[in-house]
Amino acid sequence: MSDILRLENINYSYIDGGYERHILKDLSYSFEAGKFYTVLGPSGSGKTTLLSIIAGLDTPKSGEIYFNGRNIKEIGLHKYRRNEISIVFQQYNLISYLTAVENVLLAMSETDNKLPKDRKTVAYNLLERFGIVRTKADRMIGQLSGGEQQRVAIARSLASNVNLIFADEPTGNLDTATEKEIIGIFKELSHDFGKTIIVVTHSDTVSQMSDQRVLLKDGKMQKL
C-alpha cells in the first residue's frame, strides 16, 4: 500500500521558562493510505502538537511533511487543510448557530474538491448514514446529544471528500457504548471507503480497534 502521509526528520520545540523544550525530535514516520491509525502517548508527549503539525495548523521547526508525495508547504497549508484533510475534535467543534446539516454544508462550501451539485441532499444523506435523521439534521447543534454531535462532526469531515481524516480524542467526551459506535464508524471509513484515519487518543479501547497503534514517546514515533 502507498504512503499517503510521510514525515521526515520533524523537530519541534518551544521556549518554556527560559528553557527550550524539545517535543518532537527528528521524528520520521509514514502513514499508509486506507488504514486506521491510533497515536498513543503519555500526557505532554506531544500528541496534540504532532496532530497540529500534520494537520497543517502549525509548522515544525525543521523537517518535511509529504502528502501523496508532495510537500505540504508546496501545496500550501491553507489549501492542504481545505482540500486534502479534515479534522474531528474532541469537543466536536461544531458551530452553534448553525443546524447539523448547515455544519456539514459549511465544510462543503470551503473545499475546492469536486462535489455533487445537490449538496444539501448529500449532506442529509451523510448525516443519515451516521444515524442523524432528517428531523435531527435540521436541529441546532445545542439540541443534539454529545454522541450525535460527534457523528455530525464526522459527517462534516467526510463532506469535503478528503482521504485523510485526523481525530483528536474523538471519544473523550462520550460514554463507552457511543465510543465503540464512533470507532466503528472510523473503521468502516478506512476499510470500506479507503479513508486514512489518524486518531490521537488515550483510550485503550480505541487503540485496540485500530489497524496500527503508534506510540509517541521522547519525541519519536514507534509502531506497537
Partner: protein, 538 residues
C-alpha cells in the same frame, strides 16, 4: 454555506446579542441624526436667508483702515501728503470686476438737486402740498462769504428735480423693478463715455409736459444766485438740454397717505426723478464749476491748489474731481458673494475693501453657527464613541468566538472570509439600527432642534428686532443696497428635517463606523493561530 449566509444566520439566530447591538446602533443613530439634522438645518437656514438677500458687494474706501493708518503717522508733512492723495476706489478696479461673469452691473450713483430752466419749459410734477404752496414765500436764507470776506445771504430757492446719475449702464434700482422702463431704453456705455446729454424721465413728468422719446428737456444745475453771479456765471451756463432716451414708471408713488407728505419737496417726488449718466451730469455742471474755480484762483493767488491747472474741473479729471468712495456691484447669485469677495479682496489696494455686508449677517447668524458647531461636535463625539464601543464589543465577542474562528480555519476558510463575515454581521445590525433611528430620529430631531435653537438665541442676547443693513434704497439719498434681514428671517428658515441626504450620510457613517470597528478585531483574527483550537480543548 458561504460567509454571507453564515453572517445572516449568526445575526438572526443569536437574537439577544443582535438586539443589544441593534439597540446600540439605534441610540448612536438617533444622536447622529439629531446632530446632522440640526447642523444641516443651521447651514440651510443661512443659505436660504443668504439667497433672500440681494447679491450686492460694495467696493469702498475702508475708513477704519485709513483712520488706523493715519494714527500711526507722526510727521505732519507726511500726513498732509496722505490727505492730499486721500484713498479712493479705482475705476480700473470696477472695470476689472465688470469683466467677471458673476457681476451683472455696478452702481456708482451720485445725486444732485436741479432746477427748472428760466423759461419753465418743463413743469415738474406737483404734489400740491403745503410746502409747494409756500414755495414762493421766504422759506429760508442761503448764506456765504464774498470776496471781501463779508457774509452775504439771500432767499433760498427750492430745487425741483432729483438727478440720479450712474457711471455705468444699468442700475440696481431698475433691476429690482422699483423703476421700470415703459418706453425707450437706459443710457448705454457709449453715451456715458462721450458724456452725451441724455436722460430718462418719469411717465408722469412726460405726460404732464407732453414729452416723449427723442424730445429734449432743459434743466438748470443751480439757481442763479448772487453767489453764482459773483464768479460771472450766467443763466445760460447753468442750463443744459438733454435728449429723453427713456421713460420710466415706478412703484413708490408719493401720495397724501405717505408720511410727511405735506412737507415733501418737489424733488422728493419720484415723478421728478431724472436718471442720466454721471458724465452727462458732470458735463452740465462743468462750465459753472470752471467759472467758480477761476474765480477762486483769482481770489486766492497764493493757494497752491488753485494754481495747479490740473485741478481745474474738466471731463478728464472728473473722477478726481468727484471723489468716488464706493461702488456697489450686483452679482448674479447671493451665494456667489462670499467667494467673489475672497477672490478679489487680496488684489485691492491697502485702503479699499469689498464689503458683502457680512458682519451683521454673521452676527445674527451666530446662534445658528454655534448650534451647527455643537451639533457637529456631538456628531463626531458620538461617532468616535461609537467606534470605540463597537470595537470593544466586537473584540470581546471575538474572544468568545475564537472557537468558531478555529473551526472555520480548520475546515479551510480563509481569514479574510472570517473578517468579511464579521463585517457583514455588524453591517446588517447597523443597517437595522440606523433604519429604526431614521424613523424615530425624524420625529425627535425637530423637537430637540427647535428647543436648542430657542435656548441658543436666548443665551446669545440677540433681539428679534435686530436687523442687518437697510432696505431704503428707494430713499432718495440712500445708496446702501443691502437687504434688510431680521433674526426672524433666519430662524424661520431653520427647519430640522431628516432629508434623503442625511439618511444617506447616516448609512455611510454607519458603514464607516462598522469598517473602523472591525479593524482591530481583524488584526486579532489575522494573528490567530489555528493551532489554538487544539490546545484550548486540551
Amino acid at each position: 454555506m458561504n460567509f454571507i449566509n453564515r453572517a445572516i444566520k449568526n445575526v438572526t439566530r443569536r437574537l439577544s446579542k443582535t438586539i443589544l447591538l441593534v439597540l446600540t446602533f439605534f441610540l448612536i443613530g438617533n444622536l447622529v441624526i439629531i446632530g446632522l439634522g440640526i447642523s444641516n438645518a443651521s447651514k440651510s437656514a443661512k443659505i436660504l436667508t443668504r439667497q433672500k438677500m440681494r447679491a450686492v458687494v460694495t467696493y469702498k474706501v475702508d475708513y477704519d483702515k485709513v483712520y488706523r493708518y493715519t494714527e500711526t503717522i507722526e510727521d505732519q508733512d507726511e500726513l498732509q501728503k496722505f490727505y492730499e492723495n486721500y484713498p479712493r476706489v479705482k475705476v480700473e478696479d470696477v472695470t476689472e470686476f465688470l469683466k467677471d461673469d458673476r457681476v451683472r452691473m455696478a452702481n456708482s450713483v451720485s445725486s444732485n438737486m436741479w432746477y427748472q430752466d428760466e423759461n419753465n419749459s418743463v413743469d415738474f410734477v406737483h404734489l400740491n402740498n403745503t410746502r409747494e404752496q409756500n414755495m414762493d414765500e421766504n422759506q429760508g436764507q442761503s448764506c456765504w462769504t464774498d470776496i471781501n470776506g463779508s457774509m452775504v445771504c439771500e432767499t433760498y430757492k427750492e430745487p425741483t428735480f432729483f438727478i440720479k446719475s450712474n457711471m455705468y449702464p444699468g442700475m440696481i434700482e431698475f433691476e429690482d423693478g422699483d423703476y421700470q422702463i415703459v418706453s425707450g431704453r437706459f443710457y448705454n456705455q457709449e453715451e456715458i463715455d462721450n458724456a452725451e446729454m441724455v436722460c430718462l424721465i418719469s411717465e408722469n413728468l412726460a405726460q404732464n409736459n407732453g414729452l416723449g422719446i427723442g424730445d429734449n428737456i432743459t434743466l438748470a444745475v443751480d439757481n442763479l444766485s448772487s453767489y453764482a453771479k459773483q464768479s460771472g456765471t450766467t443763466q445760460e451756463d447753468l442750463e443744459s438740454t438733454f435728449e429723453i432716451v427713456g421713460i420710466f414708471s415706478h412703484n413708490k408713488p408719493l401720495t397724501p397717505d405717505s408720511p410727511n407728505y405735506e412737507y415733501a419737496s418737489p424733488y422728493e417726488n419720484p415723478d421728478n426723478m431724472i436718471f442720466m449718466p454721471t458724465t452727462s451730469s458732470y458735463m452740465a455742471q462743468l462750465t459753472y464749476q470752471q467759472k467758480q474755480y477761476d474765480y477762486y484762483a483769482q481770489m486766492y493767488p497764493d493757494e497752491e491748489y488753485y494754481q495747479n491747472p490740473d485741478n481745474r474741473p474738466s471731463l478728464e479729471n472728473m473722477e478726481k474731481n468727484m471723489y468716488i468712495d464706493s461702488v456697489t456691484l450686483l452679482l448674479d447669485d447671493p451665494l456667489n458673494v462670499d467667494q467673489f469677495v475672497e477672490d478679489y479682496q487680496s488684489k485691492l489696494s491697502q485702503f479699499t475693501s469689498l464689503d458683502a455686508n457680512n458682519d451683521e449677517f454673521n452676527r445674527l447668524a451666530k446662534p445658528l453657527d454655534t448650534l451647527s458647531m455643537y451639533a457637529n461636535f456631538i456628531v463626531w463625539l458620538v461617532v468616535i464613541n461609537a467606534v470605540v464601543i463597537i470595537t470593544l464589543v466586537t473584540a470581546l465577542t471575538l474572544k468568545n468566538r475564537e472557537y468558531e474562528i478555529g473551526v472555520l480555519l480548520s475546515v479551510g476558510a480563509s481569514k479574510l472570509k472570517v473578517i468579511a463575515q464579521f463585517f457583514i454581521e455588524l453591517a446588517i445590525v447597523a443597517v437595522f439600527g440606523f433604519t429604526l433611528a431614521v424613523a424615530s430620529g425624524s420625529l425627535i430631531s425637530r423637537e430637540i432642534g427647535n428647543r436648542v435653537l430657542e435656548a441658543q438665541i436666548a443665551s446669545s442676547g440677540i433681539n428679534e428686532e435686530d436687523d442687518i443693513g437697510t432696505y431704503y434704497y428707494n430713499d432718495l439719498w440712500d445708496t446702501d443696497y443691502s437687504t434688510k434681514i431680521t433674526l426672524e428671517d433666519l430662524t424661520s428658515e431653520y427647519e430640522v428635517t431628516v432629508s434623503p441626504l442625511i439618511i444617506a450620510e447616516i448609512y455611510v457613517l454607519g458603514l464607516g463606523i462598522v469598517l473602523i470597528s472591525v479593524i482591530i478585531p481583524s488584526f486579532m483574527i489575522m494573528r490567530y493561530n489555528p493551532k489554538k483550537i487544539l490546545m484550548n480543548q486540551n
